[in-house]
Symmetry: C2
């Protein structure tokens, strides 16, 4: 099922092909590799991981399949890079929250805003919908380790909140799982064309996470 390049490249968010532009040679390989990963994430999201072949991907980038192999060895390695890119976005948001000043609860909410943004992107889609069941054992273990690192740092942020009094005493592990679950699930229901933007969803989630359900009655 070859792609229709014109249609693919017209989709919002797809950058111009780096093969078309003149760039400094030392950056070129990295830039083109990044473009391959980005285009793959978009293709996986549009057609599903199983339904996207390297031929489709080459067509959408307007290159030949042998050219693609200069940058990536196979489809599994591309998916791994998509996972890593998605997790890197979440890690960047954690970095920022850990560096920030202020009560840990507010820093946690800052992280949640970044998390929500990462989840609704193409890399987020790959992480949530393609899932590591498509990765081999070695790559799957590496992704599990990266995820465990994020979970640990998220829990530390909640613990810091309990310590500074901004978060009430709770089971920090279960709370981190509940928060991550609510956010990750966005990958299953979020649609770009729906009425709420990711940041609006994040604010409504934060309102609920902050105050809970309990009413006056």
């Amino acid at each position: 099922m070859p792609a229709a390049p014109a249609k693919s490249s017209s989709r919002k968010g797809l950058r111009p092909s780096p093969w078309a532009a003149r760039r400094r040679p030392r950056h070129e390989h990295a830039l083109k590799r990044e473009a391959v990963i980005r285009a793959a994430a978009q293709a996986f999201r549009q057609r599903g991981y199983h339904n996207t072949s390297l031929d489709d991907l080459a067509a959408s980038l307007r290159v030949t399949k042998p050219t693609l192999y200069l940058y990536v060895p196979n489809k599994e390695a591309i998916l791994f890079e998509c996972f890593r890119a998605g997790l890197a976005q979440i890690q960047a948001s954690l970095d920022a929250s850990e560096r920030a000043s202020g009560a840990a609860r507010e820093r946690l909410f800052g992280f949640i805003r970044g998390y929500a943004q990462a989840i609704v992107g193409d890399f987020g889609w790959c992480m949530l919908r393609a899932e590591d069941q498509h990765l081999g054992a070695v790559m799957s273990r590496r992704i599990k380790l990266l995820k465990a690192g994020i979970d640990k740092r998220m829990r530390a942020l909640i613990e810091a909140g309990v310590a500074d009094g901004s978060i009430r005493r709770c089971d920090t592990r279960m709370t981190a799982f509940a928060l991550a679950g609510a956010l990750n699930w966005m990958g299953h229901w979020y649609r770009e064309d729906a009425s709420l933007k990711p940041q609006e969803i994040a604010e409504r989630f934060i309102d609920f996470f902050n105050h809970g359900l309990r009413g006056q009655a």
Copy 2:
């Protein structure tokens, strides 16, 4: 990859094969079909959907593949039935919560307890981990409709709570998504051999859902 029947049948939760017992003929077909669905859910969870063949399933039930075809037409139809069984457990919990008396928040929490129990079962695993991407368009649409029905009833329970004052004013749609996400995500991290039982996890989640994160500081 044929199954090792002895090992499979020794696993906690697998009932004795209905093929081995004498039963009233009019119940037999339904009972055996149910046993096929149940054994399939267990096999999918143990080995993954893609890695489980109808041969494996027949072996684990100690029947021939042609016997299996008396009850189910193909693997996709079995997965559909696993989804339906998992959703039926969640619907049963909703039924009970809708019939119950008391504040809607407490009835919602009752539903959450049942939901958590359903998610960690074999049918819950199928719903969450096998996902409807393995179903064809027609079956996938039917599952989406069933899920939408659950989402709507869950939202109505939250709205009832806002109306009776037991739940604070909130975006009921987003709150339902956050709750469902937190619970569904259990399917990704819950392990039977871990320290917390599903009901203990549900209580910790409910504590968080009820009171939120906000501390005194």
